[in-house]
């Protein structure tokens, strides 16, 4: 447990050093924050190692008070894995921001370290009100980072903040109703005590609505494209890869532990259908958007559809494969989307255009960035041997085993085709040699290679597929 808290505290210390440090130039700040992320990654791996070795989830009552009173932190194999994943994404995004020209303003470093701390606090917490505050922290940090890209992004940032505040209030109302009935905010105590009463149903409805709005899950996702497309490249990579997954984690926590099992089984199909619709609706919107980063943002909405479907089926069938599929999706999507946004940012900066038509002949003008885009897109579609394929395979297995579940498989088939459509829409344009759009500035190769790095990691995920699945098989509790 101490390694996990170390992994949480390191980025915070880095941020505070950057804030209070004398003569802190952006260059020096980047070194401190990158060091913080690397240390946090190492600590997270240590925590992962200890928790898988011991096999049991460790809990810590902060302040030594008994269960009903203190805030309880919990380190399960899943949260340790998410800690490591967040640290890795922050390291990659930080490296990219450090060397690329289009990455971000100078305050990026403090905010990214703060965001890292807030996310680590979220993965570890097992207290519903504490989760509310971490949600708020993530919302504020994310909005501040969207505002980094200058005045043109303020409107999107303002809308994002307003909706995120409203969502947090709705979530808090739900938590209060739960507290009014069971007199505890601790997830593990709630799990043992929660029953299917009218007030619990109302509370869970409110919590789910708040989290879906905050996590841009299908029906309430309209704020995401403007916010993620407006942000600088490294920031939108962080936002899509990790920030959107926080509310999803809480949604999973609430519906698999706090909610009574038969209520979850009843709501499961609805969530899975919402996921399927998200897959198609998000993909369709991505296919029709004329801007590169808006396309990638809508693809986030679509890919969250996969995760939502896995969650819905986990709720209705309560089988561990769905749990593994859900978290494999989250990790594979995170890495692939980070690389996709970085590549899109590089291409947009080098070719000097936000529109898709500006990508004509990109394989000649910005070959490595286009290659990164294609490789990351391949993982989003789920081409073998990428991480996306691994997750889709584990998701498909239980669905295909009984014929009556095949409509879900049809949904996944549709989702794959739609995501193939909008990824290859870009790739085909890039191979155009007749009307090449010349780059405005000399391409900065270091930025391109760093954009490629997460994509190569997600394709390498297949090699450690067994270990990942073994790790997640513990059911996350």
């Amino acid at each position: 447990m101490n390694d996990a808290l170390l992994s949480l505290v390191t980025p915070l210390v880095a941020a505070l050093i950057v804030l209070t440090g004398p003569a802190m130039t952006p260059r020096r700040a980047s070194v401190v924050v990158l060091l913080g992320s690397a240390l946090s990654f190492a600590a997270a791996l240590l925590a992962l190692q200890t928790v898988t070795a011991s096999g049991a989830t460790q809990t810590l009552n902060l302040g030594g008070w008994e269960d009903g009173l203190a805030i309880r932190l919990r380190l399960s194999p899943l949260s340790a894995l998410l800690l490591a994943f967040t640290a890795l994404i922050h390291l990659l995004a930080g490296l990219y921001a450090r060397f690329s020209r289009f990455a971000s303003g100078d305050d990026f470093w403090v905010l990214s370290a703060f965001l890292h701390t807030a996310l680590a606090a979220l993965w570890l917490s097992a207290d519903l009100f504490n989760l509310y505050i971490t949600l708020e922290l993530i919302g504020l940090a994310a909005v501040a980072m969207v505002a980094l890209s200058g005045p043109k992004a303020y409107q999107a940032a303002a809308d994002y903040l307003l909706l995120s505040l409203a969502a947090s209030m709705i979530y808090l109302l739900g938590v209060v109703f739960l507290y009014s009935e069971y007199h505890t905010l601790d997830v593990m105590q709630l799990a043992s005590v929660s029953a299917d009463s009218a007030r619990t149903r109302l509370a869970l409805a409110l919590i789910t609505a708040g989290l879906m709005l905050k996590g841009a899950l299908w029906p309430l996702h309209l704020w995401l494209p403007a916010a993620h497309a407006g942000a600088p490249a490294a920031v939108s990579a962080l936002l899509s890869a990790v920030v959107v997954k926080g509310p999803l984690f809480i949604l999973w926590l609430v519906w698999t532990e706090v909610a009574p099992a038969d209520l979850a089984r009843e709501v499961g199909p609805m969530v899975a259908t919402a996921g399927m619709i998200a897959l198609v609706a998000g993909g369709w919107a991505a296919m029709r958007s004329p801007y590169i980063k808006v396309l990638v943002a809508y693809s986030t909405v679509a890919q969250l559809g996969y995760a939502l479907m896995a969650l819905g089926l986990l709720m209705s069938w309560q089988i561990p494969q769905m749990h593994i599929a859900l978290w494999l999706f989250v990790i594979a999507h995170g890495l692939a989307k980070a690389s996709l946004f970085m590549a899109a940012g590089e291409m947009q900066g080098t070719l000097g255009t936000r529109r898709l038509t500006g990508l004509r002949g990109a394989t000649q003008t910005v070959p490595i960035a286009m290659f990164a885009f294609a490789v990351a897109g391949g993982s989003l579609i789920g081409l073998p041997p990428s991480g996306g394929f691994l997750a889709k395979w584990v998701l498909l297995e239980p669905i295909l085993s009984q014929p009556q579940n095949w409509p879900w498989a049809f949904g996944i088939l549709l989702g794959t085709l739609v995501s193939a459509a909008y990824i290859f829409r870009v790739v085909v344009l890039a191979f155009d040699r007749a009307t090449i759009n010349p780059p405005d500035t000399r391409p900065h190769l270091m930025g391109h290679w760093l954009a490629l790095l997460p994509a190569l990691i997600v394709w390498g995920m297949a090699l450690l597929g067994e270990q990942l699945i073994g790790l997640l098989a513990g059911g996350g509790v």
């Binding site: 915070l12 505070l16 303003g105 305050d107 504020l140 501040a144 109302l202």
Partner: protein, 308 residues
């Protein structure tokens, strides 16, 4: 029965009417003014419901500082034309609320009003008060039992101020210098010491009665904002270490106590029995300092404060 319910009924009707008009007022400035009034009434309602800490906090933070924020925003915004009365919107709002509230009442309250208002379990706080180092329960929860929440709380403030620093990218000519009237200066000169006194009292009083870091911080912030507006306080340059240090003071101290209690003491944030009271007071003082500075910058921070 109804006589005893009368004051609550009056407050509730007042609350709803002011909230309604704050939203659907004809001009934007009326809406802001009414929202400040709404803040005051909420403070009254909370006092009525037996929550003195919260009434203090709401009055100081909700009505006070938000009011200053809104009025400063009103000065920057052009006077918006009055909107014609739109009965369709009011009707829509009315139906939306009536449907929702009656649904809530029917589904949750009517089936079993008793267990909604049942107070069967008394909170575990009373039992653990003895070794919490303070006698006022709310402060004990805030700074000892759920200290991790308060730590993240201070982080929220830190995030907000760091976020605010991004909003001044371009060197714009600053607003015309606020010419201060002598009356305002002398009034500030009498009011600010009083605020300092009350703030300090609230901070000290927090361990045994309603009060505490947040309320004290808000009052001190109000004082600083007055000084800053009247120009008596020089701009709080972000580049100077004093400002940045005090902004991060609360968080830094909290972090050190957490790490120290882990390495030396029994566990993370597990204060040793003997010094719990003094430790809490120390944390509260630095937290008040941080909150005061951050709230001042949030409310009255200009480009020359935050970015130079």
């Amino acid at each position: 029965m109804t006589v005893e319910l009368l004051p609550d009924l009056v407050l509730c009707v007042l609350l709803l009417v002011v909230a309604w008009s704050a939203l659907f007022a004809s001009t934007r400035r009326d809406a802001m003014a009414l929202f400040v009034a709404f803040g005051m009434i909420v403070a009254l309602v909370w006092a009525r419901l037996g929550a003195p800490d919260l009434a203090l906090a709401e009055a100081a933070i909700g009505a006070g500082l938000t009011g200053v924020l809104l009025l400063r925003a009103a000065r920057k915004l052009p006077v918006s034309s009055a909107r014609r009365f739109d009965y369709r919107r009011h009707l829509g709002a009315l139906t939306f609320i009536v449907v929702a509230v009656s649904g809530f009442a029917v589904s949750i309250i009517l089936p079993s009003p008793a267990d909604i208002t049942a107070n069967n379990i008394d909170s575990p706080v009373a039992a653990a008060m003895s070794d919490s180092g303070v006698s006022h329960q709310v402060t004990a929860v805030l700074l000892n039992f759920r200290a991790w929440d308060t730590f993240l709380e201070l982080l929220v403030l830190l995030f907000a101020i760091t976020g605010l620093r991004q909003l001044f990218p371009i060197e714009k000519e600053s607003l015309e210098p606020a010419r201060t009237w002598q009356l305002l200066v002398s009034w500030t000169r009498t009011l600010v010491p009083l605020l300092l006194l009350v703030g300090g009292y609230l901070l000290w009083r927090g361990s045994s009665g309603p009060g505490g870091a947040f309320q004290a911080g808000a009052l001190l912030a109000a004082g600083c904002v007055m000084l800053r507006i009247t120009g008596m306080l020089p701009p709080l340059h972000w580049s100077s270490f004093a400002v940045r240090g005090s902004v991060c003071a609360g968080t830094l101290l909290f972090l050190c106590t957490a790490v120290l209690t882990h390495s030396l003491g029994a566990g993370w944030l597990d204060y040793p029995e003997a010094h719990a009271g003094t430790l809490i007071l120390m944390i509260e003082t630095l937290a008040t300092l941080s909150i005061a500075i951050i709230l001042t910058l949030l409310v009255a921070g200009e480009r020359k404060d935050l970015c130079s």
